[in-house]
Symmetry: C2
Subunit: 289 residues, 2 copies
């Protein structure tokens, strides 16, 4: 099963290479430094969770995964841009990511801001260039913008940066994660379904799948950080927003387990076509880093 | 004639207010601070050149200007986001704009980065929500992304920030401005035409109009800065990229004059329906600040 996810991941990686080449054609006007930084941010590895989820979702409803490939690239471009901006000194101030210097360390802050801006913009270009029916493309653009914008990912990052004066209620922390991380998972599952030609019932089921997997992903992320000693309650920000610190590691893992089970059941409803979705749920459950 | 441009501007201002309200609904999940900063960046005045141009362009081809209103809002959101990011300390480091503190001075750098990101994202949402035929919406999304992205506005800003080791050839400076400023004017004119239902010949004519007006705008901008003593050749960056310093103020103004004339002739080709475009050209020519 994992092999089939690797096939999807290979499709995504190849499509991302093509998308950057198309956006930054060698003889085009894109400044070489910007082109290089975009490639550095986007093509340097990563689990490709969101795009693989979109392809698996298209496949689950009987569509060709290729139909969701442009949308999948757009999701990864948006994820990559968010990392570049979140790493900036005025945000999380991270000097390394995946063992490599972050974009602003390597290319300077101005180019890092512009690299993020360019990747976000290109995400919409790649969806608009897809060969899907225009009405479907318009739905995907709207879905992507809603998930990525002020009421989704960007709003979640603002909440995360805001630094509450007092510890927020757990429900507010869940809302923060639903926006910052969950919105893109949810859009991945639903958008993949739309690209694959889902009927409304399938689309709604896959949206629930995306919500469950996104929540499980975040809970396990938070649990791993505590288990591996990367964060503890002495950090006031983490003490407020880490679900593993707020709920306890065991409770966070139990909740993630229930969500993975829910995702598996939704996947099972799609029969053999849902096997990739089941494999993604299993991978979220078993991740160790 | 100017009165009719003011009517279009009023339509744009009202539509921008609605677009922000729709993006950030009062009971929605958008953090209040982000909502406020988005309004501050977008609704605080400005000439609304690009959106008015888009409406006038739709009108010139016999379309209802309302048809281009969503696209016009998107143009202004992209213009506003670019100002917020360009003002950041790591870019131009400007503390004031239009006599008010810039977004990062007022809301902090993290919120300024996120405000720009949110406005850029919302630009695509507002186009996707428009009532135009889906095929037309897809063309507008593609046009907007191309104009705003790495081969357009963002690429131009990267060139501007790069700080060449030696003075670039004048042609390279023209290319920088064509990307940084020109791309959005060109897209405004062409996108307005598309929204208004232009045929290919009209669309091409209006694209040429947008290029001419965008170039004239930049030349006069550069001339005004020198004439009003805001920049001079002692600033190495300005000495390199100001067309008024590279060509001389008189030559820059003469070139702008010829471009305004070209734009007027294209406008005249649309008869009475082109009068708003002619008025925009006149306004570009006569601006004093």
């Amino acid at each position: 099963m994992t092999e089939r996810l690797e096939v999807l991941r290979g499709q995504v990686d190849a499509a991302l290479e093509r998308a950057v080449a198309e956006a930054c054609g060698v003889d085009g006007p894109v400044p070489p430094r910007l082109r290089e930084a975009m490639g550095y941010a986007l093509l340097g590895g990563g689990k490709r969770m969101r795009p693989v989820l979109a392809l698996a979702s298209a496949s689950a409803v009987g569509g060709d995964p290729e139909a969701a490939l442009s949308f999948a690239c757009a999701l990864e471009m948006i994820h990559a841009y968010s990392l570049v901006h979140d790493d900036l000194p005025c945000m999380d101030d991270d000097a390394e990511r995946r063992g490599m210097p972050t974009v602003h360390v390597r290319y300077g802050q101005a180019t890092a801001v512009l690299t993020g801006d360019a990747l976000l913009t290109e995400a919409f270009a790649v969806v608009a260039r897809s060969a899907l029916a225009p009405a479907r493309v318009v739905r995907l653009v709207a879905l992507l913008a809603e998930a990525a914008g002020a009421s989704g990912m960007v709003g979640g990052q603002e909440l995360d940066m805001a630094g509450a004066q007092e510890v927020p209620p757990v429900e507010a922390v869940r809302q923060l994660h639903a926006m910052k991380t969950g919105a893109l998972f949810r859009a991945a599952a639903r958008g993949g379904a739309i690209a694959g030609g889902a009927d409304p019932v399938q689309e709604a089921a896959l949206e629930r799948y995306g919500v469950a997997v996104g929540r499980a992903f975040q809970l396990i992320d938070d649990a791993l950080e505590v288990e591996q000693g990367e964060v503890d309650a002495s950090d006031a920000h983490e003490a407020a927003v880490s679900l593993a610190l707020r709920l306890g590691v065991a409770a966070a893992r139990a909740e993630a387990q229930a969500l993975v089970e829910e995702a598996r059941q939704i996947a099972a409803g799609f029969g053999a076509r849902g096997e990739q979705l089941a494999a993604i749920a299993a991978r979220v459950e078993s991740r160790r880093s």
